[in-house]
Amino acid sequence: MGMSEAWLLPLLPAGAFVVLTLFGPYLPRKGDWLAIAAIFTTFALTFPIIADLTSAIAEHGPEFGGVTNSIEWMSVPGYLTLNLGVHVDAITVVMLVVVSFVALMVQVYSLGYMKGDSRYGWYYAVISLFVASMLALVLADNFLVLYFAWELVGLCSYLLIGHYSHLRSAAEAAKKAFITTRLGDVGLLIAIILLWRETGTFSIQGVIEAAQAGQIRTEVLTASVFLIFMGAMGKSAQFPFHVWLPDAMEGPTPVSALIHAATMVVAGVYLVTRTLPLFELVAGAQELILAVGLLTTFLSASMGLVMTDIKRVIAYSTLNSLGLMFVALGLGSPAAAMLYLFAHAFFKALLFLGAGSVIHATERQDVSQLGGLWSKMPLTGATFAIGALAMAGLPFLAGFWAKDEILVVATENRAVFALLLLTLPVTAMYMARLFILTFLGEAKEPEAIEHAHDGPPTMSVPLVLLAVLSVVAGFVVFDQVGRAMGFPGGIGEIIFLHEPEVFRFDVAVAIGSTLLVASGLGVGWLIWKERPGLAIIAAIVLKPVHTLLVNKYYLDDLYQAVIDRVVLMASRMLAWFDRNVVNDTIVDGSAQATGFIGYLLKFQQTGRLPNYALAIVIGIVALTLVAFSLK
């Protein structure tokens, strides 16, 4: 098993999907063991691939470009050849580890969480397809395979978000997610075809090389890059496409963990990381990524402050994190972005699975109904706290190193740096708020927590493992850790744009950011733990702001209005036009006109012989005259 056999990885869960879909109901336990066996094997198989990659890097140096292996899928000889192929390099390997590990945790956790669900087998089938698609996405060596997997990821998130399809809200959220991301995909598909038209290849590396060699016309490259980014914005829920992600929590909670940590939303980050050399060649492209990332970070951090649904708060924290990753990419540091993605996967999965445990135990997910769970669910509470602190960026948890890496990169751009610092205390504040309102204080509905307890081992083991990783995952920045894991150095040594990025630890930045995070946590503690009245006063004093935030800046309403008033209205008008103008007026009108002419002509048929005789005579005379005049 080496890098060239990496195509096997997505096929394993894909096979599980096929078997479970066709025969799931007839298998013992609806086949959940098969799905877990498949993903476990996939996870295990990533290690030989890592070993293969590290030995290749050791041999060829950090410039090692990766291994590609592909077969023909269909071809119009001489005109168009579509290949299925995989490409493995350092970025891919990081993604493979993240995706397969988080998926494994989620699947094990679901054994407990989804127990008794009426569509248990189907859940495992779809989640297997989800993982398979995401693995295919990160392994894709060409844009076609990438798009193929990209759409399947979208489909699976649609199916999983809408898993509780008897709920109107779930059905609507699923639809919203699919349509919003699909709108972005329009851009991606156009970009893929435009780039093919210029270069004659769908290969990602091929396109990048052609672009770097200046073989792509500037205007086409510019358009393509912005269209690619449109696709990434849709999948990664960046402003203005972010509206679907908070609603996506309608799905089962383990699914949210998967969507937020390892699959769906990081696909956009991955795509931009992969194609960053293209963005670099286009003036303004990186600045756009930066601006969108910053805006998303800001909007989401502010909205996270006022939401009361546990999962919704965590969802906004994901937007916050995704924004940060895009900021890193905009600053030209894929190492920082991938590091954050790597660390984020663990603590975000942890947060969602912890929230899942709370929901599972209390059947409530609104913090205004929770509280006082700390003593009832110590394990969940402790692991959740680790996740929340890692998200806030407290030293020396995983989130700290990743966030710090981004801050250090940002020091070169003072405005960006200042804005990033501003979001730190806000993030810390709402994570503190979430933890306090859920686990501490008085229980707001005592009957809800009365019988609450930590989940079964299937649920708590993933929590513990993820908590451990949320503590230690950040250490991959260090040279020694990288070496111990087989990397030739920190993660920046193998993932970079031009030259290896050595981890730079800036003490001033670290202390400054830590102070800000601590102040955010402190203010949060003060407001929601010590002086609960403060939050209410703040909500009253800052009422307009509060209303604005609770209503999500009215963006959802605006979109809804556009859809109802503009899009649907236009479609109704066109349908009316088609029925009344094209059909009833023109089509039926032509039939009626024919009928009317027939009606007029029928008066010529009088039935009287003299009339006909007269017509014949006139006819003969006329023809004779014509004949003579022509002569």
Partner: protein, 501 residues
């Protein structure tokens, strides 16, 4: 090179069945049903054989050729004047397979027909014979003959077994829809008729044999004048905007299996005619007129999709989505490059299978619920999970999801279009996004959400319907995952079309 009587069999078997049905007393409706489904199965087997036995890279343009001379060397007819000349190329092969699939599933779906089912199946099989004939004919006379044979039974099938609909703002009787469909299609065939005779006379060699006529180089001006006759004549049947209004109304009024054949196969005859008669006979005419066709085709795509979004009746929605999807076929043909034309033919097959599935599913629902208004349903997924799964798969294929047939076809069309008209290609991709909007809206509204008490009595669709649906899905997935068997056949023949390159 494959030879044999297989193509003749695809035409003769349904005709003989129609004949045999006439002598079965109508008091044995089950005997009639069994014979019909058995014939459907045989046709499916024959078409499957024709498709897979078709030899790649054999060097010949047509395979399974058969030539029976009917009239020659009399009057204006010379050598091979009118011959029953059958044969398929790589474009005809998937069309024959499509016809076999839809005919077979159509007979299964028609099991439920109670009212005069003998007469129904007689007309049904005459129609099927006509369709097979068109795809296999290499003689203009018989091409036209089979074309009319396929179209005429439609009138009675809709007029007698169809259904009238009353909507809040308008009403459509089945008689109106049948009449409009018939007038349109027969009117359009007049254009084709004139075109055929123009070609016959201009060639001046006294034959209707297509391969012989393909050798003739027609005058450029002649091509420019005659090509529009084929384009409009065949285009009407393919749902070309603005001559499309017969199609949604016809779908809505027709009984389920007839809708399946109508949207699944009959509309493909039009697109097939544009290739066989228009592009292959008159390449320079095609070259001249294609900018018009690609524009109208794009209108089809976008106009159909936007109209579909406003429909509340399931069948009207599918009807307009057919208008939209046939637009991709027209756009693909109009690119006149191998990728686009390849995509068009793929789309003909893909749309045929998936729209047949959609209509089969709507029929399964309508027979129980007696309404097709999607706004009154809700939560059907709990009562009819398989039905909803099948419907969703068809919907996902129609919005171009990778892994299902629609994606392969549309992707080729898009790539082909971008080579010549990037702006129209972008509109085409936007059309696919609009398709996603109306399909997902429909799924969400009608099938998901809380269960509606009014539909507490609905049951899962019957085993027969499930079997038919599963067969159609098998082909949707097959083409979506392994497109090569299709592309290899199609591309080989597309590259032989003069003027495509």
């Amino acid at each position: 090179m494959q030879t044999g009587y297989i193509l003749l069999a695809t035409i003769a078997v349904p005709l003989l069945t129609a004949l045999a049905l006439t002598v079965i007393p109508s008091r044995y409706p089950n005997a009639i049903r069994v014979l019909a489904v058995a014939t459907g199965f045989v046709l499916f087997g024959l078409s499957l054989y024709a498709f897979f036995a078709y030899q790649l890279s054999s060097g010949d343009q047509f395979q399974f050729e058969l030539r029976w001379t009917w009239i020659e060397n009399i009057g204006f007819l010379g050598e091979n004047g009118i011959t029953l000349h059958l044969g398929i190329d790589g474009i005809g092969a998937p069309m024959v397979l499509l016809t076999g699939i839809v005919a077979f599933t159509g007979t299964i779906i028609s099991w439920k027909i109670d009212y005069r089912n003998k007469d129904y199946f007689v007309l049904f099989f005459v129609l099927v014979a006509g369709v097979f004939g068109v795809f296999a004919s290499l003689d203009l006379f018989f091409w036209f003959f089979f074309y009319e044979l396929a179209v005429l039974p439609m009138y009675l099938l809709i007029g007698v077994w169809g259904s009238s609909s009353v909507f809040p703002t308008f009403a459509r009787t089945k008689e109106y829809s049948a009449m409009k469909l018939m007038l349109y299609l027969v009117g359009a065939s007049v254009f084709i008729f004139v075109g055929i005779f123009a070609v016959f006379v201009e060639a001046g060699i006294g034959t209707f044999d297509l391969p012989t006529l393909y050798e003739v180089e027609f005058d450029e001006n002649f091509q420019k004048i005659v090509f529009p006759l084929f384009l409009i004549g065949c285009g009407v049947l393919a749902g070309l905007w603005p001559f499309h209004t017969w199609s949604p109304d016809g779908h809505v009024a027709a009984p389920t299996a007839v809708s399946m054949l109508h949207a699944g196969v009959l509309m493909k005859l039009g697109a097939f005619g544009i290739i066989r008669l228009g592009m292959q006979l008159l390449p320079e005419g095609a070259d001249f007129w294609m900018p018009a066709l690609i524009t109208l085709g794009t209108v089809n795509v976008v106009y159909g999709a936007i109209s579909a979004m406003a429909q509340t009746d399931l069948k009207y929605m599918i009807g307009y989505s057919s208008v939209s999807h046939m637009g991709y076929v027209l756009v693909g043909l109009a690119t006149l490059n191998p990728i686009g034309v390849n995509g068009a033919v793929l789309q003909m097959f893909s749309h045929g299978v998936m729209t047949a599935l959609l209509f089969a599913m709507v029929g399964a629902l309508y027979d129980q619920a007696h309404t097709r208004d999607m706004s009154v349903f809700g939560g059907l997924a709990q009562k009819m999970p398989r039905f909803v799964a099948f419907f969703s798969i068809a919907g996902l294929a129609s919005l171009g999801l990778p892994g299902l047939s629609g994606f392969v076809a549309e992707f080729n069309v898009f790539v082909g279009t971008f080579q010549t008209y990037p702006a129209l290609g972008a509109l085409g991709i936007l059309g696919a996004a609009i398709t996603a909007v109306y399909i997902l809206r429909m799924l969400s509204q009608a099938f998901f959400g809380p269960a509606n008490e009014r539909w507490a009595d609905l049951k899962e669709m019957s085993h027969l319907e499930q079997a038919a649906g599963a067969l159609l899905i098998a082909f949707i997935v097959f083409m979506g995952v392994f497109p090569s068997p299709f592309v290899d056949r199609i591309a080989d023949s597309v590259l032989r079309i003069p003027g495509v390159g």
